[in-house]
Amino acid sequence: MTDFIKRNKLFSIYTALVILIVLVAIFAPYLTPQDPYDGDMKNVLQTPSAEHFLGTDKLGRDTFSRIIAGTQVSLFMTICLVILLSIVGLVVGITSGYFGGKIEMILMRLADMMLSFPGVVLAIAIAGILGGSTVNTILALLIVGWAKYARLVRSLVIKLRNEDFVVAARVNGTKTINILLRHILPNVLPMIVITGAMDIGTMMMEIAGLSFLGFGAQPPTPEWGLMLNEGRQYIQTAPHLMIFPGLAIFIVVAIFNLWGDSLRDLLDPRQE
């Protein structure tokens, strides 16, 4: 353990920071100094002070508490999205890569369609038309994003399909489902974990962007993108309302990006 940390100093530091963010997200309800939902109408739009570390918003809610609570919302949405993307990618990629034929053609045509189109536009349209909510945001980004994962898995599976150990398993009469679960899946998983980890930052930013436009989390949810949008109206009187939620997104996204990059360097030494 200490040996591993010594050899991978940067990765260990980033992992520690990621764990810290995850802990903040999990224990958010116990870490907020004030109620993130309940405001004090006598103290609206206060600038940062000793009592309100990062000031208060238009309803007198403590910005710091809302940012802490927002960690939970943002991280939960992002993790859900990335896990769903991986699952859809694995199922579609393995089915089309291992079995081939008509299913492969249809699925890959669909994937090509999604890839040859700017996803953000479609995500805005989908989330907007379905109505803004956390579930619809995740759904919209899932519809737009699965193709990249599916393509990646498929290309790996096609390579694996004719490897000796898979052929041997097939000749031995192993059930197809067991081949897929025991031989194909474990060999595809690392790549998917890397891709997912590297995407966490981007996805978090896109979720915040949709919320910022009003097509994501709805008030009074303490979501960072939504807080930025609410704070935008007070750019003159209370700039802290837009500075701090954005800073929170920036810091967390940066940490996840650094962590994703170093995880890739660690697990996949072929790439520089």
Binding site: D112, P118, I235, F250
Partner: protein, 312 residues
């Protein structure tokens, strides 16, 4: 030639698929477009008028017939009427397109001015101080939400220093600077890494060693030998970012109240103006694919090796 045909077929399939999907969404979405159209016109809504409007709009027909009618209209250059603006969708789209195109062009110029010199600088001084500085700023730019960056620039340069207008509801040169800069910083942060990689790749090739051995100066090697070879991959990357700029800049247009297509689309979605949304998505799909297609064509035109391959 066969590849070209396949490519066009794929583009057609994508267009149909994407427009069909938007159409489905609008169909299953809550809210009755006929009622919304009437309410926005301040008509007293009775069941009878509702029925009549539905018939006029063709909303009483089965879903596939509706889609067929719409697609046939598009082929004739008619994308229907916008509910909210009471104007043909085409007209609304072209209004917004001017703003978006202008923003995209200025952004691309900024991106080139920022990322090419910085990318070259960091590649030539690989693993030295300039390289670290450029890479650090590139990392910061990629991790920063661009709508937040836009708001900060607006706050500092628009509000505190008063150099630029805070709201640019009409197209002005001054109003263009901040949104273009915001987009360019984000894009350059990505692009500068790619420029660096491309230049580094070229730097390690044999012909560079050969040129050095012949005693050519580093500047000559850089500008006469490396850059011409690096142009091709850079064009592809740039083409992709133009496509992105034409479609995905809604957030920035909203931040700066810039009168472009993204701004228009977000408002259309809020007002449930389905014909306008459908038109917008289709327009973006066409523009994006057309640009990628042109980039590919320019690739095979600019690269003599590919040109030969095509003739053979």
């Amino acid at each position: 030639m066969k590849r070209l045909g396949n490519r066009l077929l794929q583009m057609l399939v994508t267009l149909i698929g994407v427009s069909f999907m938007t159409f489905c969404l609008a169909y299953i979405a809550p809210g009755d477009p006929a009622a919304m159209l009437l309410e926005s016109a301040d008509t007293i809504v009775s069941e009878e008028i509702l029925q009549k409007t539905r018939e006029e709009l063709g909303l009483d027909k089965p879903f596939l017939v509706q889609y067929g009618n719409w697609a046939a209209g598009v082929l004739h250059g008619d994308m229907g009427m916008s509910y909210s603006a009471k104007k043909p969708v085409i007209e609304k789209l072209s209004e917004g397109f001017v703003g978006t195109l202008l923003l995209a062009v200025v952004t691309v110029i900024f991106v080139l001015l920022i990322s090419i010199p910085l990318g070259i600088w960091s590649a030539v001084r690989q693993n030295k101080l300039p390289d670290y500085i450029v890479r650090f700023f590139s990392f910061v730019g990629v991790s920063m939400p661009n709508f937040w960056l836009g708001l900060m620039l607006l706050y500092v340069f628009g509000l505190k220093l008063g150099l630029f207008p805070i709201v640019s509801s009409s197209i002005t040169l001054k109003g263009l600077v901040l949104p273009a800069l915001t987009l360019a910083i984000y894009q350059s942060a990505k692009y500068v890494r790619q420029v660096r990689t491309v230049i580094l790749d070229e730097l390690h090739k044999d012909y560079v060693i050969g040129a050095r051995a012949r005693g050519l100066s580093e500047t000559t090697i850089l500008f006469r030998h490396i850059l011409p070879n690096a142009v091709l991959p850079l064009i592809t990357l740039l083409g992709m970012s133009i496509g992105w700029l034409l479609g995905g800049v809604a957030v920035i247009e909203i931040v700066f109240a810039w009168p472009g297509m993204g701004n228009m689309a977000v408002r259309a979605i809020m007002m449930r103006d389905y014909p306008l949304i459908e038109g917008f998505v289709l327009w973006i799909a066409v523009a994006y694919m057309l640009i990628n297609f042109l980039v590919d064509l320019s690739y095979s035109y600019l690269d003599p090796k590919l040109r030969k391959g095509e003739a053979a």
